[in-house]
């Protein structure tokens, strides 16, 4: 099943005409995103057991992606997502319908996932890889290149600090808005933006390092 981002990247219009595109794309975004989750929320408020499977199917890919890309271990991510859905179910079962109707599902589920991940990380330390050049990660030209490239990016991402990694994953892998991220992680929007910017800068630096010095030159031979 292909991963369908619930919200197109807001900066897509930037390349043409920022202001005009912004208005139109925000309206499009509202139309595109409000619908599926709004229908889910109405269903959950009315018939939790009858709607919960649809909620799982609608959000499992993005939650799994977030769990894996912020945590780093595929198996842990699977358990974390299951844990997240169980917590969500128990909460929904206890909420009155009015409270369910007020939920913003994407952010709410993300918060539960991140909290569950933090609780788990207290027991089991999530490893943070070093941002170093790995000779095994050289880009290849064959059909496996895409896979190698993904692994490279996953490894680079794992090298970020947890806060930067989470911010970058939520913003640029999942495609949440800064407002949504700020609510989900419980930090000011400005802080989240700073985490994303610094995270992207660190990724760029690490990528350049991983690509190594120009061919034919060893680092110590580069003229000053």
């Amino acid at each position: 099943m292909p991963y369908a981002p619930a919200r197109p990247s807001a900066f897509r219009g930037r390349r043409n005409d920022p202001r005009a595109e912004r208005v139109e794309s925000d309206v499009m975004v509202e139309l595109a995103t409000a619908d599926p989750d709004a229908r889910l929320i109405a269903g959950l408020a009315e018939d939790l057991d009858g709607t919960f499977e649809a909620l799982v199917r609608a959000h499992q890919d993005r939650l799994f992606t977030i769990a894996w890309r912020t945590g780093g271990d595929r198996h842990d991510a699977e358990e974390l997502v299951q844990d997240c859905f169980v917590r969500a179910y128990l909460a929904l079962a206890a909420y009155p319908p009015a409270r369910i109707r007020d939920l913003r599902l994407r952010g709410w589920l993300t918060t539960i996932l991140l909290n569950a991940g933090r609780n788990r990380a207290r027991v089991k330390r999530v490893p943070t890889a070093e941002l170093v050049f790995d000779p095994g990660a050289e880009p290849a030209a064959d059909p496996l290149a895409r896979r190698d490239e993904r692994e490279t990016w996953a490894r680079l991402l794992a090298g970020l600090s947890p806060a930067q990694r989470t911010a970058v994953v939520l913003r640029h892998v999942d495609g949440m808005s800064y407002a949504e991220i700020a609510a989900a992680v419980g930090r000011p929007e400005g802080t989240v933006k700073a985490h994303v910017h610094r995270g992207l800068a660190a990724l760029r630096t690490a990528l350049l390092a991983s690509e190594g010095p120009p061919e034919g030159l060893r680092a110590e031979e580069i003229p000053a």
């Binding site: 981002p5 199917r57 990016w153 991402l157 800064y178 992207l200």
Partner: protein
Amino acid sequence: MTDLIDPTTEAALAGLREPAPPGLAHRTLVAVGLADDFAVIDSPVGPLRVAWNGRGVSEVAGATDDATFQARFHARTGRVARRVDALPADLARKIERRLAGDRHNRIDLDLRGSTAFEQAVWMKALEIPRGEVRPYGWIAAEIGRPKAVRAVGTALGHNPVPLIVPCHRVVRSDGMIGQYSLGGPENKRTILTEEGADPDELESLARAGVRFFGSDTTHIYCMPTCRDARRVTERHLVHFPSSRAAAAAGYRPCLHCRPAGASAVA
């Protein structure tokens, strides 16, 4: 809300999205009790299919194949049951111990969809020790519905978790062994024999009109399978056709098997 991100990085990060593993949704639904897993276990009456979810064991059945089991399960619960290789280790151990007569390990049961009356009947059946039997009327009296003997029989017939809830230990009020939902009366006799009761002896007593045993030393009367009744030596054993007859002879009901209620409706 503009990011300083180049299209390559943007595309590369978006490319890190990953579909959830195929079994994740089902496992999640099982965890919250909206779907079930099932596996086959051995029993004295042949292979049984046991279904469970995060709330507890939801069904025990003797259906001969997976498809039949799944169809009946879905018709009763509205949920999908998926065949897996084996029970979770701790559940397998608990069921094994329970079938061996150990009542002191708790097995969670998922009894959604049943009535409060049915649950009261099933919980009462859980109190009957291995190797003993009680009549339908005893359960009816114990749960405070002495006239609902027939409804007790119906509720036991709807027991979704036979063997775990030992409805095979409940017999007809005339003392005959009676019907059994898990594959018929022969299975009921097999299981009772396996547990140390003697169905043939119980039925011959019933045919002779004997409902209760008493001890002429203690002047207490019991259900014939009560562990206290079985300790009475032949010389001191007295037979009663009814609790009224026992009371008239100056006997009081046993505190363990509480036989009085049974005869009120027998």
